[in-house]
């Protein structure tokens, strides 16, 4: 990982009056430690100076036992460097929001504050994100998970924490996490009837000038989800609509929050994959791989070449399977039933292959630290070759069915455009970012496993609308099939796993490893204390960043387009809520 020059960082921060201690941490890179009060200033300096760290990879917290370390992980695309800023906050401290510097921090900050019990200052929407009122700050070390006895005894009656809190009278309504002396944030919420000034209308829609015949319009707040056939999971969108037009939108998540990060702190390293599989349940191989890479960095183990090839091959097969699961329903969102049936024909073939090699259709736990769980099977090769031949024909069919459809083109071209700056500011990664013209792919720019031996192109588009995102993903499927063919032709002989102990005890340290999952940069940040379980595991969810970016594009569009737009961001709620 390329690292910035320490003296340049130090002088830039000290010129801005930020006291900083800089160290180089193995497996993680340059870590700047600043005080809680100057964290915001440090991020602003790093963003605005020549260093140009203008991309927020991740923002999360670590309960160190004495304080909460808030970690800002930043990247500079122009200089191709990464840096970590850590600021120790007191247990009931205040987190100064950086959302106006880097809008990608909007949702991660809310999540951090509720899961660690911090207050949030200067945030436009300081509400709980994942949990309900009355929930404990789960990621703090004093909160314990249910014991074995409690879990085995199913007669235990647990009570909804929200109901408990209501009964105790500690909360009246939705309680915001604002610092007591916070300045009142501007409320971009519900507008009083009659005072609505329409924003820029989409082409083709005409509106009578406001006030004609003394007719005032009223807004309706529509709760779309969590049970809605087109929100791709338990996503809830609170849409404020004026007729057919969306005026305001808020994404409400947390309906699938099940504590993957917390439970990982009590699991051994080779079993965490079980949880991560269920995080991004469409691309299990990728999240397992990110965990395996991070653990291998700490253990200083290298996986054998055959294992790397298997990781790449199954990862790319999984990528096709995931894109297919997105492509079919993308048609459903726009009103086309056909693509769903056609694409799922291919997905069944893919799941057969994955089942053959890994033993499971969806939840693999196949990629382990050190290599893979078991060797390639003899029957799989014929299946993969058959699939590649069939898929080469089917992909062109699928392309024509949806992309060639004039209605689909008319509905998606020019809808939901992300400029290059907006995409970077909101922390988009993967196909969403590449559709906005940023050529960034971890497989090429930070090669892992066997990707440096593979020959593949990276589809790009400059347009940034829904149609471009669809086209980029479709091209990615073709490239993935190309990589799979290279892997199956050149699969080397040898061991499928390195020699690692049965119980892994990585040395004390921190490591971050990222892979290019179908949804973008999927990173795993591990803090090890030398025991057989990680002290803290952070899972960087690319879909969370895509969701909050999509949310900002909804106002001004039509309600039918909202479905298509959110669908095009390819959100997986298991990964967003974790």
């Amino acid at each position: 990982m390329p690292q910035p020059d320490l003296t340049v960082v130090r002088s830039a921060l000290e010129r801005a009056g930020v006291a900083v201690s800089i160290e180089e941490v193995a497996c993680l890179g340059v870590v700047c430690r600043v005080s809680a009060d100057s964290a915001r200033a440090a991020v602003a300096t790093l963003r605005d100076s020549d260093l140009a760290f203008d991309f927020l990879i991740d923002l999360f917290g670590i309960d160190t036992g004495e304080a909460i370390d808030v970690v800002y992980h930043l990247r500079s695309f122009s200089r191709d460097e990464e840096i970590v800023v850590k600021a120790a906050h007191d247990y009931d401290g205040v987190l100064a929001s950086i959302w106006d510097l880097l809008p990608a921090a909007l949702m991660p900050e809310r999540e951090l504050c509720e899961l660690f019990g911090l207050s949030l200052l200067g945030h436009p929407n300081p509400k709980r994100l994942l949990t309900t009122d009355g929930c404990a700050p789960y990621l703090r070390k004093f909160v314990e998970i249910r014991s074995d006895e409690e879990v085995r005894d199913r007669s235990t009656q647990h009570v909804n924490p929200k109901r408990l809190a209501r009964a105790a009278g500690s909360i009246a309504a939705e309680e915001p996490m604002v610092a007591p002396d916070a300045p009142s944030a501007t409320q971009d919420g519900i507008v009083a009837p009659g005072t609505f000034q329409p924003t820029l209308l989409p082409a083709g829609l005409r509106r009578a000038p406001a006030g004609v015949d003394q007719v005032t319009t009223e807004h309706l707040v529509l709760s779309m989800g969590p049970q809605h056939p087109s929100t791709h999971g338990v996503l809830r969108l609170n849409l404020e609509i004026d007729g057919e037009e969306v005026v305001g939108a808020e994404a409400i998540i947390g309906y699938l929050h099940r504590g993957i990060e917390k439970l990982a702190e009590s699991r051994r390293y080779h079993t965490i994959g079980t949880l991560l599989d269920r995080g991004d349940y469409l691309a299990g191989i990728h999240s397992e791989l990110a965990l395996a890479l991070a653990t291998e960095k700490l253990l200083e183990v290298e996986s054998p070449r055959r294992a790397n090839y298997l990781r790449v091959m199954l990862g790319e097969l999984n990528r096709i399977a995931s894109h297919i699961t997105w492509y079919g329903p993308a048609g459903l969102d726009a009103g086309a039933m056909g693509p769903f049936l056609y694409t799922f024909r291919d997905r069944e073939l893919l799941l057969d292959i994955l089942e053959d090699v890994t033993g499971a259709r969806m939840m693999f736990n196949y990629v382990r630290p050190g290599g893979v769980l078991r060797d390639f099977t003899t029957t799989a090769e014929a299946k993969i070759r058959h699939f590649l031949d069939v898929f080469a024909v089917h992909i062109e069919e699928n392309d024509e069915i949806l992309m060639g459809n004039e209605i689909f083109q008319a509905r998606t071209q020019g809808l939901g455009v992300f400029s290059r700056e907006a995409a970077l500011g909101f922390g988009l990664t993967g196909a969403n970012l590449r559709a906005s013209g940023v050529s960034w792919d971890i497989r090429r720019d930070r090669p892992y496993a066997a990707y440096n031996e593979m020959d593949f192109d990276i589809p790009l588009s400059e347009v940034g609308d829904v149609y471009a995102r669809t086209a980029v993903r479709l091209d990615e499927m073709r490239q993935a099939a190309r990589i799979v063919r290279q892997c199956i032709d050149g699969l080397p002989e040898g061991e499928f796993t390195a020699k690692v102990p049965k119980v892994l005890r990585p040395p004390v340290g921190e490591a971050y490893a990222a892979v290019e999952s179908p949804r973008g940069e999927l990173g795993v940040h591990i803090v090890s204390d030398g025991s057989d379980t990680p002290y803290r595991m952070r899972y960087r969810p690319p879909a969370l960043y895509a969701l909050q970016a999509g949310e900002t594009l909804l106002p001004g569009g039509l309600i039918a387009d909202a479905v298509v737009l959110m669908g095009s961001m390819d959100v997986v709620l298991g990964e967003i809520d974790r």
Partner: protein, 168 residues
């Protein structure tokens, strides 16, 4: 079953109305398109996809709880979701059935230790059929539906027996 093959021409068939309804109910179990987590991919999407094609059994998805007979709880239910699950169940018209699909919906699954997770959806709504697995294959869900069908058939007998004992 084609009735005209079993009975002669110009014949009449006597059947209790409840029995008739149960026959009809068994043959068209429409489930609500309500996927929570990973199980939804297997139990709802692949199930209605081209290979498993639950439509053959008359099992098909409806978008609204008002039109559905069965709720497949396909995924982990946490406290935030539990309120919605209960509400959706209340919105479904009688008679209604619940299938708890997968380990999470049955017991909390791999996430049961997390305090925010409800240990099984049967703490929230009554469950008729439990399907184990993580996630269960679409075949398992199909078997679950067949079990539910036989359960509905058995209900007819129970109802008749209770009606007889009432009239006595």
């Amino acid at each position: 079953m084609a009735l005209d093959r079993l009975t002669g021409e110009h014949s009449a068939v006597f059947i209790r109305s409840e029995q008739l309804f149960d026959v009809a109910r068994r043959k068209s179990l429409w489930y609500m398109a309500f996927g929570i987590a990973c199980c939804a991919i297997e139990g709802l999407m692949h199930a209605s996809g081209p290979r498993y094609d639950f439509d053959r059994l008359g099992v098909f998805f409806r978008a609204s709880p008002r039109q559905s007979d069965v709720m497949i709880v396909a995924g982990t239910v946490n406290w935030k979701m539990a309120e919605t699950v209960k509400r959706l169940y209340d919105e479904m018209p009688e008679p209604k059935y619940v299938i708890a699909m997968g380990a999470c919906a049955c017991t909390g699954g791999p996430f049961r230790e997390y305090p925010n997770v409800v240990m099984g959806v049967d703490k929230v709504v009554p469950v008729d059929v439990y399907i184990p697995g993580c996630p269960p294959r679409p075949e398992s869900v199909q078997y679950g539906f067949i079990q539910l069908m036989s359960k509905i058939q058995a209900q007819t007998g129970e109802r008749l027996a209770s009606a007889r004992s009432d009239s006595r």
